[in-house]
Symmetry: C2
Subunit: 413 residues, 2 copies
């Protein structure tokens, strides 16, 4: 099976953009769709990317000029079936990488409107992709970005999607139960169930990636200033290591939530891109729904704060570790043992160490220190799982709105 054409849903995002550049450099023909939702909702919560990312038109021109990458882009909304149908028909993909979702747990917990938006956006987008595949790309491989958060933190080991159990003397292989802890994480659980059904009844093939928390500020292909990928550090869209690094460079105390004993799997951006690329090159069989747990190492949030603090001090940054009441409802001390063999069996070897990557990140972020400092108000958590927030305004009315350059757009001919 020769793989030539890849469609990236959510090509404008943190993972989508570097993945597009990587796949182009590997010789794939890359198509992308995005509705710039991420830029809009980060603006809504009063934040921006620490890296000053360029608009889509500039990105695309720079990719062409600097890397010789010809990416075909459509501005479109995955909730609109016409948009999805159009890009699937026109790109005739061998693989579809679906990164095009609202990706923040706190954002989904702001209030009713944000919870409904998150689930409707994510579930409808994925359903639309499945139906478009059935019609126009039934042999394509759907590589869907899920999250390790789909599993929650059960008191037993977490296998890759399925487990064999015995119950009352009978044996069965069952989907591992999902116990996600936010309406966002649940939207991914809903997606997983919908995708598994589509594989079963329509013979589609899919890899559902339960991804650990990603950290990192660059890949080989994003070094040029016009090709930077976004880097969020606010409470909603910043992942924990990224947030800690951004806090370190502006002298803001690192903020593990609660006891900080929450353990999670982590993976460097470069290695995440590598995993996705390995999954694309090794598609599942027709009708197969498989699950990859995509992570490198497990740390507790407190350990991370300590490692970031140590590494920062090595670079001459003064860093304290603060305490923050946990806004989420989650176990702060728990069993966490996660299988992650499937990608290794396909050849994945992590290339980054946490400390090494932290040095790169901290050096990168020092350049954008002023942009982080300008938005320091978005760092402290304001969305509370138990109560929501008093009013959504409390979340995003705290910083002056600074308008980022609007994304501009080229359209599939």
């Amino acid at each position: 099976m020769t793989l030539n054409r890849v469609l990236l849903c959510g090509i404008d995002g943190y993972l989508g953009w570097p993945l597009a550049l990587r796949l182009e450099s590997q010789g794939f023909e890359v198509y992308g769709i995005d509705n710039f939702s991420r830029r809009k909702i980060v603006r809504e919560v009063g934040s921006w990317s620490a890296t000053p990312i360029t608009g889509m038109q500039t990105r695309l021109s720079a990719a062409r000029r600097i890397l010789g990458a010809e990416i075909t882009f459509l501005e479109g909304d995955l909730r609109e079936y016409n948009d999805v149908a159009r890009i699937v028909r026109e790109s005739k993909p061998d693989a579809i990488v679906h990164l095009g979702e609202q990706p923040s747990a706190p954002y989904s917990m702001i209030d009713q409107e944000h919870a409904v938006f998150t689930q409707e956006n994510n579930v409808t987008g994925t359903l639309n992709i499945l139906f478009a595949m059935k019609e126009w790309a039934p042999n394509a491989h759907l590589l869907k970005l899920g999250t390790m958060g789909e599993y929650g933190t059960p008191d037993i080991d977490i296998p890759e999607g399925f487990f064999d159990i015995e119950f009352r003397g009978r044996k069965a292989r069952l989907p591992f139960p999902r116990q996600a802890g936010s309406f966002y994480h649940l939207s991914k659980v809903h997606d997983s169930a919908n995708i598994a059904l589509a594989c079963k009844i329509w013979g589609l093939r899919s890899t559902d990636v339960m991804q650990g928390v990603v950290y990192g500020s660059r890949t080989n292909e994003t070094e040029d200033n016009q090709l930077l990928t976004r880097f969020d550090f606010d409470e909603s869209f910043g992942t924990v290591i990224n947030r800690f690094c951004a806090q370190a460079v502006i002298g803001y105390p690192l903020s593990p939530y609660g006891l900080g004993g929450q353990r999670r799997g982590f993976i460097a951006l470069v290695d995440s891109i590598k995993c996705l690329s390995i999954a694309i090159e090794n598609p599942p069989d027709t009708g197969e729904y498989r699950v990859f747990n995509q992570l490198d190492e497990v740390y507790s949030v407190r350990e991370l704060a300590e490692i970031v603090s140590r590494t920062s001090e090595g670079l001459g940054l003064q860093v304290k570790i603060g305490t923050v009441e946990n806004p989420r409802i989650e176990q702060e001390n728990h069993h966490y043992n996660v299988d992650h063999d499937n990608l290794r069996k396909l050849g994945f070897q992590p290339t980054r160490s946490l400390e090494g990557e932290l040095e790169i990140m901290l050096r990168d972020l020092v350049r954008f220190k002023d942009r982080i400092a300008a938005k320091r108000n978005v760092i402290a958590p304001k969305v509370r799982w138990r109560a929501g927030v008093a009013s959504p305004e409390a979340v995003y009315a705290q910083t002056e709105r600074v308008v980022e350059p609007e994304a501009t757009v080229s359209v599939v001919p």
Copy 2:
């Protein structure tokens, strides 16, 4: 805890209307909301209720006149948060019974539009109810209608929602994995996960009812012609026993799909209403999410065809059993052993035998034979799981559209 006020979401439906009348007769103050979606979508597929149900205004007046029942009704859409907020604030419910969903698997499998409608309608409606409860009725008991179809047909026994297992030497109590077989059934799985989270993080209380397939044409309170509940017999909205009875009275061959070895749990309408009423009278604790499997007996579809055929012949009806290619993708011969102890522990005893209820149903339906015969084209399955349908028109353009009297409406003062 004195229970006085019950809000029924989906009060206009097959279960909602008789439940409203029953609860009124038990002394509850009953509030209802409905957007008449069921009437509209049954019309969309070219069918109607075998029983000539009256419009809402007529129903409400008749209930007042005949039963002395004062039901407060709001025409509203559960997808509109304002509607949900309004009825929850105004009814101040002790219990909310949520029956207000798109309830058909085949309807959800027609095409992209119907799948997305089903999941968005059901998931958003339930999320809106949860958020409104959090704000205005945090102590109310949410009694949510799920379906036994959420579990699918795993090769092990099906417990009530949760099971205790051992995995790699550690023990855990986990949600029983859901493997639903249609986008409709999955919408209920999504709901279940959302409700469990709301109970956990907000301390709401809920009973999630995994209901078996309901059959029956009347309850004590619906005997008057103006108080009839609906009775669907088309491929999408008719449940299997109800469909078989409708087929029997017009001499249309009974149509088990495929081998007919599919085993399911069944419960009579009267007993379903009784179970719901018992659940309302026995609310769970604050923060508790509990699951009831609500069924009486398990039959295979072929057994049912044979029992309906025998009972019909006893009433002088000539009935054949036909063969129909299975339009669904499902096991036609499988293990099916389902726990259903929770309701019995609260005192539920089934009051109906299948054969006895069938006689009542067949006698009822003979009165409405012409209405069934007029729509005989909606009986044969046209929606196919594997391929969808060639065009949605194929599903619902086969019969002349006959306009039912529109529901008329009284509004909460």
